[in-house]
């Protein structure tokens, strides 16, 4: 075997190694610098009544979840039923942050929309989603340009923050919440913060 004929294979292996390394850096393993810090404040229009602005201040005095989602997010579809169950059966207070509802959707070209059109389209889509699949949220708000998500250091959707009664971020879960994630990661922490007690 002449060595020069191995060159394409070697280059290919190097490329695959680079890719594998890059994708192995799972965002789930990156600790959020925000843990232990106060949840950044925001005031965003509510999906059910866009004239009302809502934010973390409305949830003071109890531990709650901030769930970052969007209707174009496939993993959110899987997660949604779980959220509805948590809200209905365990009474977990969840706030939904609808992240870049229009701009984040790869199927759509939002560049030619006026802000008014974008907002109306986003409201319609979010409401349809919540009507069809059930509404697990105390309230859901629109983060059309994703600025609030930047404050929270959101890498992608879905992500969920556990925030305590004093408004401090205690935990961040990246990816959809499933049965196991709730049982093993979130539920113990939520209960330890006094969640679920009257």
């Amino acid at each position: 075997m002449k060595l020069k004929y191995l060159i394409p294979f070697v280059i290919f292996v190097a490329l695959v190694a680079l890719f594998a390394y890059a994708f192995r850096l799972d965002p789930r393993e990156v600790p959020s610098p925000l843990i232990g810090k106060p949840a950044p404040a925001f005031a965003l229009p509510r999906v059910d009544s866009p004239e009302t602005l809502a934010g973390p201040a409305d949830l003071r005095g109890q531990p709650w979840l901030l769930n970052v989602w969007a209707t174009w997010c496939v993993a959110c579809r899987e997660e949604h039923a779980m959220l509805v169950r948590l809200a209905r059966e365990a009474g977990v207070p969840i706030v939904g942050l609808d992240y870049k509802e229009i701009r984040g959707d790869a199927e759509l070209d939002a560049s030619r929309l006026s802000p008014q059109e974008e907002r109306e389209a986003a409201l319609l889509r979010a409401r349809t989603w919540l009507t069809q699949r059930g509404d697990p949220y105390r309230f859901a708000v629109l983060d059309l340009d994703g600025r609030v998500a930047i404050d929270y250091g959101v890498y992608g959707v879905p992500e969920t923050f556990l925030i305590d009664a004093g408004g401090i971020i205690r935990y961040k879960h990246i990816g959809p919440i499933d049965e196991r994630a709730w049982r093993e990661e979130l539920q113990p922490r939520w209960a330890a913060l006094g969640g679920g007690k009257p």
Binding site: P8, E107, A121, Y155
Partner: protein
């Protein structure tokens, strides 16, 4: 019942592909005629099973069976029937089924139309194709079941993505997939050559028509995609260098290199390992394209990371296919080396430069396409590599390629003198420069880009004419008609494709230099002027569509006091997404398009209207069509059909004889 039947057919196809792969490869290695014949029948049966599976999915869409998840997610009761038909592939699962169907159609074609191949060689080709098919059918069955049921059945579906509800999208994906997947045939020929150690002129002659046909499909697929982007996206652009487009351009570039490399392998027995490498590369890039488009990695690497099942599967398939192929290449390719020696200035030399330039261009596009993803995956931030990068690296690689393209047919095989060729074509070279100078002066648009573009076109056209005249002068005493008939299809194909490149460049250059655009607010009854055309907005009215409502504008187009046409651009709101979609209206013409697209209402009854004047844009499509027709003419060359009739092949002197036993030590 129908979806279950489709599901069963899909699983059956998977099993048949496995049989085909094992019997094909093992049968060829052991020389078992029975196993090889069975592999061939398995390929045909696999194709029948996939046609059935595809028909079942199509039937579910046409019957509006919302109990199938895919139907509910991609159609609605109000979707017109032809968009329900295309809804089959307007989604992940269905488009992967179309991929598998294309592959099986190619396999059946190889099984049916390759009687000129030796039995063992055909069995190897079918074995390799079967192995690829096993991988993709496993992907479908295990991660992307198109027939998944939905319980309870919803009363209404989500409708097809409005962007895909367009006539162009009816033919674009099938053409593109036939092209992508057709590269698998060239790949299988290359792998079979490595396995058997047989790679001679006959091999190149078998391989080339298949590669040409795949390349023609790819060319047409890219053309339709580009035309769709032009009129559907409403920005008036025709190429955006986005990752999905690049995914189709990369295999096209390497496929082009492969076609040219195959000529040298056929005529001179040289470039063999290089040809094999290009065939592996072209198919690898087709797979990479499938990975990029299908894994979600483009939207965001984190979308990929949060639902990695599919992406990891395709990435694994890609790594396995390419890794095994390249290892096989490292092991067996040294046996393929050889071929006639040649001087740097020669037909071979020019084709080698063509190959290097095409491969470099593909590499540059690859780098620009995956670089942002790697940066994103490393959390080093989001960057985007845009048209400036691609134009900066792509144009300097293509300019020498085009200059050489027109010159190379004048060069002799083995050895030539540059001075001899230049003595023949200097009038064309000078002529091209003069025409370009005259052209930019006449257009009153003196830029280097415009000069370069016109000079290249003029050079290609003049040199092509010269080539034809020279060719017709040969042939002695017979009449002109007989001489024209005497020119083989592959020569006409080369000539037409090269001419098409010239026409394409002219379109790109002139639309870039001379296009005009106006964004203007218009009230009903008001007029606007652009490039000598006068546009009068009659009004905007609401028009209902089957699954949308549209605001339709009516604009009269006037020129020199005469009304040419009335254009009706629309702004549609599809019920599904609540998203306004722009439907531009175009008055097509050979020398110019007039393009109108509706912007936003201004609130006081007026509308923002986008007006474009696009000279010579159709020449981009004409050029691409000429390139494709040329490829088809070359594929239909008589010598390939003659070959089919004459079973025996003539190996080149330096070609290796096929080893008697396959146990190569």
């Amino acid at each position: 019942m129908i979806p279950e039947m489709g599901q069963f057919a899909l699983a059956l196809a998977w099993a048949l592909a496995l049989v085909q792969a094992v019997l094909g490869l093992a049968g060829a290695a052991r020389g078992s005629a029975g196993a090889m014949a069975a592999a061939r029948r398995a390929a045909l049966a696999q194709c029948a099973a996939l046609v059935l599976a595809y028909a079942c999915l199509t039937a579910s869409f046409l019957r509006i069976d919302f109990s199938v998840l895919l139907v509910a997610a991609n159609s609605s009761t109000r979707t017109p029937w032809f968009y329900r038909l295309t809804g089959v592939w307007g989604n992940h699962e269905g488009s992967m089924l179309l991929w598998a169907l294309s592959l099986s159609l190619w396999q059946a074609a190889v099984a049916a139309f390759s009687r000129s191949l030796t039995e063992s060689f055909r069995a190897r080709v079918l074995g390799v194709l079967g192995a690829v098919s096993v991988g993709f059918l496993a992907f479908l069955v295990l991660t992307s079941n198109p027939f998944e049921r939905l319980v309870p059945m919803p009363a209404e579906g989500r409708d097809l993505n409005p962007m895909l509800q367009d006539p162009g999208m009816i033919i674009h994906p099938p053409l593109l997939y036939m092209g992508y997947v057709g590269m698998a045939v060239a790949f299988a020929f290359a792998i079979a050559a490595l396995l058997s150690g047989r790679m001679d002129a006959a091999w190149a002659r078998w391989s080339r028509p298949w590669t040409l046909v795949a390349w023609v499909f790819l060319t047409l697929g890219i053309l339709v995609g580009s035309a769709w982007a032009y009129y559907e996206l409403g920005w008036g652009g025709w190429w955006f260098w986005d990752p999905v487009e690049n995914a189709s351009l990369m295999p096209w570039l390497l496929g082009t290199a492969l076609l040219h490399s195959l000529i040298v392998t056929e005529k001179r027995g040289a470039f063999r390992s290089w040809t094999v490498l290009l065939a592996i590369g072209a198919f690898s890039l087709s797979l990479l394209g499938t990975f990029l488009v299908r894994s979600g990695v483009i939207t965001s690497v984190h979308a990929f990371a949060s639902d990695p099942k599919r992406g990891v599967f395709i990435l694994g398939l890609l790594a396995l296919t390419v890794g095994v192929s390249l290892l096989l290449f490292a092991w067996r390719a040294p046996r393929l080396s050889g071929g006639g020696a040649f001087a740097p200035v020669s037909r071979e030399g020019s084709l080698l430069v063509n190959n290097v330039l095409m491969a470099s261009a593909a590499g540059a596009v690859l780098l620009g396409t995956i670089y942002p993803m790697v940066i994103d995956a490393l959390h080093a931030g989001k960057i985007s590599v845009g048209p400036p990068y691609f134009e900066t690296v792509f144009v300097p690689l293509m300019v020498p390629a085009v200059v050489l393209m027109a010159l190379a047919p004048f060069l002799r095989w083995k050895r030539d003198a540059l001075a001899r060729v230049l003595r023949r074509v200097w009038p064309e070279l000078i002529g091209a420069l003069l025409i370009a100078a005259l052209g930019v002066w006449a257009m009153n648009h003196v830029t280097f880009g415009a000069f370069l573009g016109i000079a290249l076109t003029a050079w290609v056209v003049l040199a092509s004419l010269r080539l034809l005249v020279d060719r017709l002068r040969q042939g002695g005493a017979v009449g002109l008609a007989a001489r024209l008939r005497g020119i083989p299809g592959s020569w006409w194909g080369m000539w037409l494709s090269h001419l098409g490149v010239g026409v394409f460049i002219l379109g790109v250059t002139l639309v870039g230099a001379l296009e005009q655009r106006l964004d203007v607010k218009m009230m009903p009854g008001e007029a606007a002027e652009l490039a000598g055309y006068r546009f009068v907005l009659r009004g905007v009215s609401e028009v209902p569509g089957p699954n949308y409502t549209a605001q339709r504008g009516e604009l009269e187009v006037w020129r020199e006091g005469r009304m040419l046409t009335v254009l009706a651009p629309e702004k549609r709101a599809y019920f599904r997404s609540a998203m306004p979609m722009t439907e531009s209206a175009i008055d097509w013409g050979v020398f110019r398009d007039v393009y109108v697209s509706l912007g936003d209402p201004t609130g006081d009854g007026g509308w923002v209207v986008l007006l474009f004047y696009k000279p010579f844009i159709s020449w981009i499509w004409f050029g691409a069509i000429a390139i494709a027709v040329g490829g088809l003419a070359a594929a239909l060359d008589r010598r390939y059909r003659r070959l089919a009739r004459r079973m025996a092949s003539v190996p080149l002197p330096e070609a290796l004889p096929e080893p008697a036993a396959e146990a190569v030590r």
